[in-house]
Symmetry: C2
Subunit: 255 residues, 2 copies
Amino acid sequence: MTTGPSHPPRGAARRSRPLRVADAIKDWVVERGLQPGDRLPGEAELIERFGMSKGTIREAMRLLQAQGLVETKTGPGGGSFVGAVSRERAGALLANYFYFRDVTIADIYQVRIALEPELAASLAGNLTEAQLAELEAIMQDYAHAAADAEEERRQHVASLRFHARLSDFGSNALLGFCVSFMAQILTDLTVYKRLYATPNHALWKRGRSHQSDLIAALRQGDAERARAVMKSHMEMARSLMDAQEAEVMKRFIAE
Amino acid sequence: MTTGPSHPPRGAARRSRPLRVADAIKDWVVERGLQPGDRLPGEAELIERFGMSKGTIREAMRLLQAQGLVETKTGPGGGSFVGAVSRERAGALLANYFYFRDVTIADIYQVRIALEPELAASLAGNLTEAQLAELEAIMQDYAHAAADAEEERRQHVASLRFHARLSDFGSNALLGFCVSFMAQILTDLTVYKRLYATPNHALWKRGRSHQSDLIAALRQGDAERARAVMKSHMEMARSLMDAQEAEVMKRFIAE
DNA sequence: TAAGATTTGTTCGTATGTATC
DNA sequence: GGATACATACGAACAAATCTT
């Protein structure tokens, strides 16, 4: 909620009424310390309080809705409510920023290699047995080598879910978001762009042994070993991805 | 632009018309490969094409506007245009995600320590003399020790601008965004929450010498030295911040 | 199940503001 | 300054969703 995208009346540009109303509502939420789920005034009241038409108020609400800050429901007991921005929504909004910029697989892995080992280290000794069990359960989704491209893809998505869950378990929301965002991008690439379309037995086997070692280190509370294992895991994945990327490009050009 | 926050007609929930129109426009932009600055159909045409009222179309445009995907101008030659999401806007939208989550100074530095050294290393030998000169110019803003709390704050913001500029110079947009987002959060904290309100001579002196060393390493193309210097810089800053944070908390409680 | 109440969702017609020529 | 082309804003009415009884 901080200061909105262009919150203060900067410079000279006159801001439209919906924009000003949206900012006023944001400020109102911050001042009152409202929490997710808390009610916001209904349309009728806002119309009166701001002295503006229904359409203008509704446009303001759409502005806030797009940012994930409010949710609205119809019917009795309905209305607008303060909304907590979900991780998925935050990731989708951020993905828009990168749409017109070219981000390579190498870029993604440069960040992953810097962050994932740090995350792993900070998690060592801090996971419950239930969380460790959940990670092991995810690994069951790729307990055997993939038979075809379709299964390979499905397994890779599951493997990325392993990392996404890991990012949820930490206490650092900032670090967790960055890590899970990288996993999200790779998942989208896998699903929509058919990345990892070629079954790769080496990736499957070594990746699994890395993840097993990682879980063991996390369970033992060995932070430095967790860091080292994750680092190896990321570096191996990166080198395989570089080859895959070239192949994806070739196919794209060929068609 | 990828797949919107809740793009596909999921499960059973009926999506409102503005939401559906916004998704359709997004898809249209992606399919046609439109670029920032390209025209979108005007209100009148959208009304006709979607068979919906003006109000609904306008609400859809507000949804896209809030995400930074379109910009609208009034007057002749005006209309809606595809917009590139700016870094600032992306950062502000992401900051909303963290508003209801507690992020500590320690969390920020955990990420900075993992990323900034990597950024520094990848920049070594890849900066133009003009870019190096710009960094040196920023350092002029804190060439002398701060006399009071106000100047200390101003200098700290300038120092964060140093890191933000650094993040712009790299070729990895993902890494650059993460680094500059951390700097943005710290800047906001400095300005709004009066972080770093106490002049700290040690921070000033050692910080400056670190940054000088860093520029030298970048100019020489010594990646590993750049990485090491940045790592020291971050670790020093973190230890000072931990002390400051405690103090900020105490003051907050005392009042 | 059905009716009624409440609140958002949507439309249409009209009028105003703004930037370009 | 006036004409033009576009977004912006208003108001009244009606539709749809959903909770309560």
